[in-house]
């Protein structure tokens, strides 16, 4: 005989109650384990998608501009690359292509936002095995094979094929002559000059490629769901031979992306590169200056004469194919070429040069160079014959051709003038005012803005008229020595402009005019500047977000261009970030993002808290019931000499064995529960994750944590339930008592009311804090904590009320005995048991009621009064609010829009950080709101968006917090407004005033300061900044891609009006959706999560009713003799059943009421702060349902009581 044997025998003997406890432990463990496994599944699924979409791609270099595809070969040739990496492949990547398919029934199906991948066969090496169709051997699409001559082979992924109505059976079979489906695609033309630049192209931005034959459809996995930004949504991808794209875009041997796979990736595709590997890769990557768009040009002008030859100018011009040198490039160049002291030049196309107050013609479209006079740049004065005195602020030097033109067109006959006369007339021009007319360097909302600036002519610089004009093969030929002012290379190369043979052939986005002499100038001087101002003035007038210099004149002596290029690149290596030419460790980043925006396990655990609490209460109750049955045995053990700790240990050992068994069952149930949840999230609640991407994943860690936590909390609960037995006198235990009567006056009874009050006060505090200043998981935690404390306070009060003597002696003081009084007295017979039973029902009620209150409905505050939201897959340059632009874009249909107002918003694509994207957003998308939008909300002109907080201090800001976007911050951070849910759940920003740092593509670091939170708005998922800040931070982003649409007269915008926009702007891939539907879709995510958690409530209800029914059954068994006596006294069986049901109802109603009151208490602050609303009808229905289920669960006890056999019960010894 030993204690373990005793424990085992006892376990078996009391198997019913132990089984019940075991089930309770299993329930708690299942909820814990299940919550952790749901988290595992979400993370695992996201990780799978992240990795799936990349295949073996570990690193990607993607640029807006094209670079040499040879870079890939150069990488592969490096031994260091060969050691660590395996694949390097150039591709052309466009995320915004569109495809159309003319079906046989003449209907055309279109697909926008198609990712186009121009690739060679090497690209397929990045695919995971098994995605290509097999017919004995793997059949990869062959892009190297010559096309049929009529068509070009292309490949689609399944989602795109589905959208276009194409299936694999439509493809050309091996022996068929019939071609497969033929597609036409539109791809954006590479634009070197931003469309917001006056000479940047605004139209004809797309190239169409026709006769593309679909030869294969890839499944949406591996590279078949390639996505730069991890998302559970399936991308539409079109794969096309690289040469075809290069040819269409005239980008021979160029690519805009480079993909690399590490050798380690072949062994373990789920690993991604290490930081060390990334560093190595970037150190091997050696872009040439042409890859960076830099043009080094030898500019030389000499003069041969019988007396000898001399150099007029000889320098290397460094310019950019994007017209302007970016500031970082200038910085690198200045450092690299510091020894040559390069001259910075800013040349701008003036619309006109007007001699103020003169009859002279305005000279149209002339180059004006801003360059400082100095040792490197000395012009010769046509007035004095001496070097031109350095021109100061407000001064302008015109060249002698310009001076001549002014003189000629003012009616003066200059024929036959000698040099002296000419000089005399030039001198008269000095001191006169010259107005330079130009377009603002950045178009405002697509509109060119005319500006003028008046200068004083300080001198006339001599230019020599060449003898022979420029031709295709050679520059102009001089018969007299040219001057430094005869330098057309002061103007950078601009395709469509500087490469044209006649001024009339300029290809500019605005109308030009010219006179015969202007074309003559073009023939002989080309882009030679007609005037010079100092650099400071030029940069002030014409500098922009795109840059402040057009070239650097580097007087490098004998240094070769190659040497200079090397110097530049060596300097750039010192600070590679400035180059923005580096690989993005895309797999590593995506794996990081797959940690998820919402920690599902934490969320599930927080919301499962009450269920776990309910399960623990149940364990406590059931174990106590077991103790009630065994207490006299325990008394005996004490009587025969086992000390209290030995007795308690025996009980805890017994409980531990039960808990271990329960936890094992719980882990298994938890797996089932998680599988069910995952199934639910992919079917019934698919709204929460938008697509059914979720799969079941598990980790040993979660199972272990679930098991150990289940055992731990259960054993702790059991220990708490038996602990007090140590204080119970042995004689009381022998008499079968489990509670100490004298406790009524004990210390515990005295301090419990204070504990109750403390719980109540802390609950108020937590609830207020949760609603006002917390967010994310901490808000959920505080909310649950507040509710739990409130419920604890209520339960303590109930327990104390049950224990009050008046509760049991009310009848003796003359009250009339009534049914409910009897029920209450019976319930108070075992205060702890009754209180815990109430707690059990209350926990489930709390969860169901609280969760229901957070269901959201879309409101006007969420849409900001904008009825529709539009998006174009390609940017539209121009503000729709300008009638001219509207007319340009919509043609004759512009009038159909009536009072419709469209606010165009700048858009930087990125990770969608809203509820719809479960991935952790690394580089959220950015919206740039125009001033017109911000001003709209001033003085209540528009109802506006609902705000959940802002840093507004003034009345104006409080009325229109959008103004905060325009307010500069002291530390230079960018003010940003974010939807509160986006901020808290995706970006982990928990309060306004905080900062958020993002590293955008190319390594650009931007620090945002949160100035406002929007409440449940349609603008969730993005960082919202002012347009001004947008263009300064992202100067290369062209035009607008998001649109908020409303009616200026508060009438609803009709779907017909939106239809006009969609039709007329179809070339831009314009698509609009009703804001209320967009918002509903966002809110559906939250509402669906809530539905998920309501099922937890239902589970809690199951535990509650099980506990309630068990307790009532036990009560009836314990009172068998009492019930028999009542029968003997004349109570009918139905009356006895009624009494038992009454007791049951008292406990049930008390539980429901406690739970509902606690829930409402927790929810009220959220209602006040606008985060919750109470659906009364739904709530009452749910409560009614709980009541019915609860009452039904009591029927067992009622039947048992009614069936109590009188005689045997009266004779019973127990």
């Amino acid at each position: 005989m030993n204690r373990f044997r005793l424990v085992c025998r006892t376990l078996v003997h009391f198997w019913r109650v132990n089984l019940a406890v075991c089930l309770g432990v299993a329930a708690a463990t299942a909820v814990l384990t299940g919550a952790l496994l749901v988290g595992d599944s979400m993370r695992g699924s996201l990780r799978k998608i992240s990795l799936d979409g990349l295949g073996r791609i570990d690193e990607i270099l993607i640029k807006e501009r094209f670079f040499r595809e040879q870079l890939a070969a150069e990488l592969k040739a490096d031994p260091r690359f060969q050691k660590e990496f395996e694949l390097a492949e150039p591709v052309i990547l466009f995320p915004n292509a569109s495809a159309s398919f003319a079906q046989s029934d003449q209907r055309t199906r279109n697909a926008n936002q198609v990712t186009l991948i121009g690739c060679r066969n090497g690209f397929w090496d990045f695919a995971d095995p098994g995605i290509f169709p097999t017919g004995g051997e793997e059949k990869r699409p062959d892009f190297e094979k010559a096309s049929t001559g009529l068509t070009v082979p292309i490949v689609l992924n399944e989602p795109l094929a589905n959208d276009l109505g194409i299936s694999r059976k439509d493809l050309r079979t091996k022996d068929s002559r019939e071609p497969g489906p033929i597609l036409t695609v539109q791809i954006p033309k590479p634009q070197l000059i931003n469309a917001d630049n006056p000479i940047g192209k605004k139209e004809d931005l797309y190239e169409t490629i026709a006769r593309l034959e679909v030869v294969e459809v890839l499944p949406a996995e591996s590279i078949g769901r390639f996505n730069l930004h991890p998302s559970q949504l399936l991308p539409r991808i079109l794969y096309l031979p690289m040469e075809t794209v290069q040819e269409a875009l005239q980008q021979d041997e160029l690519a805009n992306a480079l993909l690399v796979s590490a050798r380690s990736s072949a062994r373990d595709p789920e690993r991604g590169t290490t930081e060390k590997q990334s560093e190595l890769l970037n150190s091997i990557l050696r872009p040439k200056t042409q890859d960076l768009g830099l043009i080094f040009k030898n500019v030389e002008q000499g003069w041969e004469s019988p007396a000898g030859s001399r150099t007029v100018y000889d320098y290397v011009s460094l310019s950019s194919d994007q017209l302007l040198l970016t500031d970082p490039m200038v910085e690198i160049a200045k450092q690299a070429f510091a020894e040559f002291n390069p001259d910075p030049v800013m040349t701008y196309l003036a619309n006109g040069l007007e001699l103020v107050g003169s009859q002279a013609d305005e000279i149209p479209f002339s180059m004006v160079s801003a360059v400082d006079a100095g040792a490197g740049f000395e012009l010769v004065s046509a007035v004095s014959g001496q070097p031109v005195v350095p021109w100061q602020d407000g001064q302008i030097v015109i060249n002698s051709w310009t001076a001549d033109d002014f003189l000629k067109t003012s009616g003066i006959d200059t024929q036959g003038w000698d040099a002296e006369k000419r000089t005399e007339e030039y001198r008269k021009l000095v001191g006169k005012k010259l107005a330079v007319h130009y377009f603002e360097p950045e178009a405002s909302h697509g509109k060119l803005i005319d500006r003028s600036h008046e200068f004083v002519i300080s001198d006339v610089a001599k230019v020599v008229h060449p003898e022979k004009p420029f031709s295709r093969r050679r520059p102009a030929v001089f018969d007299q020595p040219p001057t430094l002012a005869n330098d057309p290379d002061l103007t950078p190369f601009v395709p469509g402009l500087t490469d044209q043979s006649s001024i009339n052939r300029w290809d500019l986005p605005f109308k030009t005019r010219s006179r015969p002499q202007d074309d003559d100038y073009w023939q002989f001087f080309r882009t030679t500047p007609k005037a010079f101002v100092n650099l400071k003035t030029g940069q002030e007038l014409w500098g922009s977000r795109f840059g402040k210099l057009t070239s650097l004149r580097i007087a490098a002596g004998d240094e070769s261009i190659k040497s200079l290029q090397n110097q530049f690149l060596q300097q750039a290596e010192q600070d590679p970030q400035k180059l923005s030419f580096a690989f993005n460790p895309i797999k590593r980043r995506n794996i990081l993002a797959s940690s998820g925006s919402t920690p599902f396990d934490v969320l599930f655990l927080a919301l499962s808290f009450f269920i776990i609490a309910a399960a623990l209460i149940l364990i406590f109750l059931l174990f106590r019931l077991g103790i009630d049955q065994k207490v006299s045995q325990l008394g005996l053990l004490s009587a025969v000499g086992l000390n209290r700790s030995q007795t308690v240990k025996l009980l805890v050992s017994e409980g531990t064995l039960v808990s271990l068994a329960g936890a094992v069952a719980g882990v298994l149930l938890g797996i089932l529960y998680a599988r069910l949840m995952v199934y639910g999230l992919t079917t019934w609640w698919v709204g929460a994750v938008m697509t059914s991407f979720m799969q079941f994943f598990w980790s040993g860690r979660s199972l272990a944590i679930g098991f150990l936590s289940g055992v731990g909390v259960s054993v702790l609960t059991i220990w708490v339930s038996v602990r007090r037995l140590g204080n119970l006198p042995v004689r009381e235990m022998l008499a079968g008592k489990t509670e100490i009567e004298s406790d009524l006056s004990s210390l515990r009874a005295r301090w419990l009311p204070m504990v109750s009050i403390a719980c109540f006060l802390v609950a108020i505090g937590l609830s207020l804090v949760a609603a006002s200043s917390l967010g994310g998981e901490s808000q959920a935690g505080a909310f649950m904590g507040g509710g739990f404390l409130m419920l604890t306070a209520i339960l303590i009060r109930i327990w104390l009320r049950f224990r009050r003597p008046s509760a049991v002696s009310a009848a003796s003081r003359g009250f009339r005995m009534s049914g409910h009084q009897l029920a209450f007295q019976n319930a108070s017979r075992n205060p702890l048991r009754s209180t815990l039973t109430i707690g059990l029902v209350a926990a489930a009620t709390f969860l169901i009621v609280a969760v229901s209150s957070f269901h959201l409905s879309p409101s006007e505050e969420g849409t900001g009064g904008f009825g529709w939201i539009g998006e174009s897959s390609r940017p539209i340059v121009g503000d729709f609010r300008d009638p001219l632009i509207r007319s340009d874009l919509l043609g004759d249909h512009a009038g159909d829009l009536g009072n419709v107002e469209i606010y165009s918003i700048r858009f930087l694509p990125g990770d969608e950080a809203g509820c719809n994207n479960p991935f952790q957003a690394q580089r959220p998308e950015v919206l740039g709101m125009p001033d017109s939008f911000i001003e709209l909300f001033a003085e209540g002109r528009q109802a506006g968006f609902g705000w959940a907080g802002s840093t507004a201090t003034t009345d104006g800001e409080k009325q229109n917090p959008w103004q905060l976007l325009q307010k500069p911050t002291e530390d230079g951070t960018i003010p940003v407004v974010i939807d509160k849910n986006t901020a808290m759940y995706s970006l982990k920003i928990y309060g306004v005033g905080g900062t958020y740092e993002v590293e955008f593509d190319g390594g650009q670091q931007v620090t945002f300061r949160v100035v406002g939170f929007l409440a449940n708005s349609t603008l969730q998922g993005s960082l919202i900044i002012s347009e001004r800040n947008f263009v300064s931070q992202f100067p290369n982003v062209t035009g607008y891609r998001k649109y908020l649409i409303r009616s200026s007269n508060r009438e609803a915008v009709s779907s017909d009006q939106v239809g006009v926009l969609e039709t007329e702007l179809s070339g831009y891939g314009f698509d609009a959706a009703e804001s209320i539907k967009v918002l509903s879709a966002f809110l559906a995510v939250q509402n669906t999560y809530l539905s998920t958690f309501q099922t937890l409530g239902a589970f809690g209800l199951l535990l509650g009713t099980f506990g309630l029914a068990t307790v009532q059954m036990r009560n009836v068994v314990e009172r068998r003799r009492e019930l028999a006596v009542m029968q003997a006294l004349g109570f009918s069986r139905s009356r006895l059943g009624g009494i038992v049901m009454g007791e049951h109802a008292v406990l049930l109603l008390a539980g429901m009421l406690s739970g509902a009151v606690s829930a409402m208490f927790s929810v009220v602050p959220h209602i006040l702060f606008g985060n919750a609303s109470v659906p009364l009808v739904l709530l009452l229905t749910i409560l009614l349902m709980i009541l019915v289920i609860g009452l039904v669960s009591g029927l067992g006890a009622v039947i048992s009581s009614a069936r109590t056999p009188v005689l045997s019960a009266l004779r019973s010894e127990d």
Partner: protein, 232 residues
């Protein structure tokens, strides 16, 4: 030195409204080893309380109890449990056998205080079971025994460690006349064999007459005491 000495023993219980109830009002008596005593008296007179205090299941309000010259109430909880385990045997009105254990295991329950039973203890239990006449039913569970048999097992259990004091609280209260007589006689026989002090609380005059001495209780005080016949 007496095996048991009770000196001016008082016990007061606190009521719900702080109205104290004095259950024992200065009880004194002493017993030598091998002596037996029947405590009689009406319900609520304090008989069981006296037994619980002597058995160290309860503490006196004042006065003292000395067992073999030792004051058990000077011991801490663990020492007291061990003292009770080694020196005191209990037989209750309800047998308090553990239904999940066999007769042998029930007799061995006190050995669990030390963790497990030794071979000698098991042998001792077997002997006791033989002595109470249940040798044939050593493996039976309490549910398979009659009321008298259960009580005999309880007697064997109380004697496993050869206690100095054997206490029985109305051991025949739930038994019929025949079984009562059998249990009473067995108690006395075993007490004689083990040379223990035996105190039995009983309502049964018939049983009380079997004992050498009687202590008649009334309202917490000894109304009469003396050898058999004097107080019957």
């Amino acid at each position: 030195m007496p095996a048991l000495e009770v000196d001016r023993l008082k016990k007061t219980f606190s009521g719900q409204n702080n109205d104290d109830l004095e259950v024992l009002k200065g009880i004194s008596f002493a017993m030598e080893a091998g002596e037996n005593l029947a405590v009689v008296g009406p319900s609520g007179s304090g008989k069981s309380t006296l037994l619980h205090i002597i058995g160290t299941l309860d503490q006196p309000t004042s006065g003292s109890v000395s067992i073999d010259g030792q004051d058990p109430f000077s011991l801490n909880e663990k020492e007291l449990a061990r003292f009770r385990n080694q020196n005191i045997g209990f037989v209750f009105q309800e047998h308090h056998l553990l239904p999940q254990l066999s007769v042998l295991e029930n007799v061995l329950i006190p050995t669990l205080a030390e963790g497990s039973s030794s071979a000698q203890e098991v042998e001792r239990a077997r002997e006791l079971i033989e002595q109470i006449g249940l040798g044939e039913r050593i493996g039976h569970r309490p549910g398979q025994l009659s009321g008298g048999e259960r009580q005999r097992v309880a007697i064997a259990r109380s004697l496993i460690f050869r206690p100095a004091i054997l206490l029985a609280d109305e051991p025949t209260g739930s038994l019929d006349q025949k079984n009562s007589a059998m249990v009473g006689e067995m108690l006395l026989r075993m007490q004689q064999t083990e040379k223990a002090v035996l105190i039995v609380v009983t309502h049964s005059g018939e049983m009380a007459r079997l004992f050498d001495r009687q202590l008649a209780f009334c309202d917490g005080q000894v109304e009469a005491s003396g050898p058999v016949g004097e107080n019957a």
